[in-house]
């Protein structure tokens, strides 16, 4: 009566969803959700799903060096045309991270409203706080392991605006300076000023931005030649911390809703900078 893998033991207690509820569940699974589409009793679920899609943690990209080594070995062999070209994964990788952050931020806001934006920003939201400390005696966070580790390099919990997003901003600014038109330069600079906290802070800010991920980044620096494959990113370069770009088809984001942790120096979170 059910396909394999669907336990029949679930059957007696499973409440068959009504059509609207099934649609809400599908929307949650697809990431296409407006707040009004999420019944109140599913909002904690939505919160968990958003947390599952939070921007990458630096520990999750710690294996990059190993992967690159394998790639270089394989790329040097017959079967993969061309020798490895050591272009820096600047404007590809960084805006991807920023997009990821923006998409996650958009999802938080779309699903939960701006007040829940902190769900993925490191301030443990209510649902997950409870999960961590009460519900998951079985599955989850061991006592002790849930404690923040402030000694671990000084990275803030949650999406690091001082990391990937900041890196993307600096790259976008750099790219706009080199290849963009006046409008693009203006936008990129304004975003960067917002993040840096002032026009006079930009240079120092970008100099201090670490590479967002690789433990041993292959020498990425802001200001290197841009790969032709990434040129398109320069035309739509940034997802500034305070103004994530909603993907096509996603609900639009109300302006002024922060998606970055309050108090994170990487962005003021409201997208309103000094203007120029």
């Amino acid at each position: 009566m059910t396909d394999r893998g669907v336990s029949d033991s679930d059957m007696p207690t499973f409440p068959w969803p009504t059509r609207p509820e099934a649609q809400a569940l599908d929307a949650l699974l697809s990431g296409n959700c407006r707040p009004e589409e999420v019944p109140a009793d599913l909002r904690p679920v939505a919160e968990v799903l958003v947390a599952l899609q939070a921007p990458p943690d630096r520990r999750e990209v710690a294996g990059w060096g190993q992967a690159l080594t394998v790639y270089r070995e394989v790329a040097g062999r017959p079967g993969m045309p061309g020798r490895p070209r050591s272009r820096r994964p600047r404007l590809i990788a960084a805006p991807l991270g920023a997009r990821f952050a923006a998409a996650a931020g958009a999802a938080v806001i779309a699903v939960l409203g701006g007040g829940a934006a902190a769900a993925y920003t490191g301030g443990l939201p209510g649902a997950l706080q409870k999960i961590a400390h009460e519900a998951i005696a079985a599955p989850g966070v061991r006592e002790g392991s849930a404690a923040p580790t402030p000694q671990s390099g000084g990275h803030p919990a949650g999406p690091s605006v001082a990391g990937t997003a900041a890196y993307g901003l600096c790259n976008a600014y750099q790219h706009a300076e080199e290849h963009g038109n006046a409008s693009q330069r203006s936008v990129a600079f304004r975003n960067l000023v917002n993040a840096a906290g002032g026009a006079d802070q930009v240079t120092g800010y970008c100099a201090s931005v670490p590479h967002p991920g690789a433990t041993s980044p292959p020498g990425r620096r802001v200001g290197q030649t841009v790969s032709p494959t990434v040129a398109s990113h320069g035309r739509k370069p940034t997802a500034p911390p305070g103004k994530p770009t909603a993907p096509p088809g996603k609900p639009t984001i109300p302006p002024g809703k922060p998606t970055t942790p309050p108090g994170n120096k990487g962005g003021n979170g409201n997208g309103n900078g000094p203007g120029k």
Partner: protein, 189 residues
């Protein structure tokens, strides 16, 4: 997801462009690790590395869309998980063609729901992975493939060798069970 740039990024990566490969890797790796931490928490990093090794070796021959790419990435990872479990169970290696008949839920010890080894700085993500891992294995896997891998129902169905209807039911049940867990924990909104 990489989006409209995916064909160009893939083509460049297939030509040896490290920046392009970096884009593919950084886009896929976090989701891959989260998925693996639900399936095989004790070996997630190792299996992810094996997955990428396999993918890199086949990269030049890959043809398809971004959806195909992600499906391939997660299928590869899943096969590595099953291979590892078979090794652990000291079973003779079976052909990969038999995979669709194998359910992760059938593999004892595979899905010990211990995501605590995933010491993420983002505690919300860590807790979320932990609570998903506490769901029945198929429900947990379907939710991770739908939400984290970003695969649609049809792709997940193909990947798991099930019908689309079964995948949808498993996902809905998983979310219901998740809601119950959260309600039991006193989480309300």
């Amino acid at each position: 997801m990489i989006g409209e740039d995916f064909p160009a990024v893939l083509a460049a990566a297939q030509q040896g462009d490290e920046a392009a490969f970096a884009a593919l890797w950084h886009d896929g790796q976090p989701a891959l690790l989260r998925y693996l931490h639900v399936l095989a928490p004790d070996a997630a990093e190792d299996i992810a590395a094996e997955t990428w090794t396999h993918v890199v070796r086949g990269l030049a021959r890959f043809r398809g869309t971004e959806r195909n790419w992600r499906a391939w990435l997660f299928t590869t990872a899943r096969r590595r998980v099953i291979d590892q479990t078979r090794r652990l169970m000291r079973h003779p290696a079976a052909s990969l063609e038999a995979l669709p008949d194998l359910t992760l839920a059938d593999l004892p010890g595979l899905c010990s729901p211990d995501a605590a080894d995933l010491a993420l700085e983002n505690l919300a993500t860590q807790a979320a992975i932990g609570v998903i891992a506490s769901l029945p294995p198929m429900q947990a896997e379907v939710i991770m493939l739908r939400v984290v891998a970003g695969l649609d129902t049809e792709s997940v169905a193909q990947l798991l060798g099930r019908s689309s209807g079964a995948i949808r039911i498993a996902a809905h049940r998983g979310l219901h069970r998740l809601a119950s867990l959260l309600a039991e924990a006193g989480v309300t909104r």
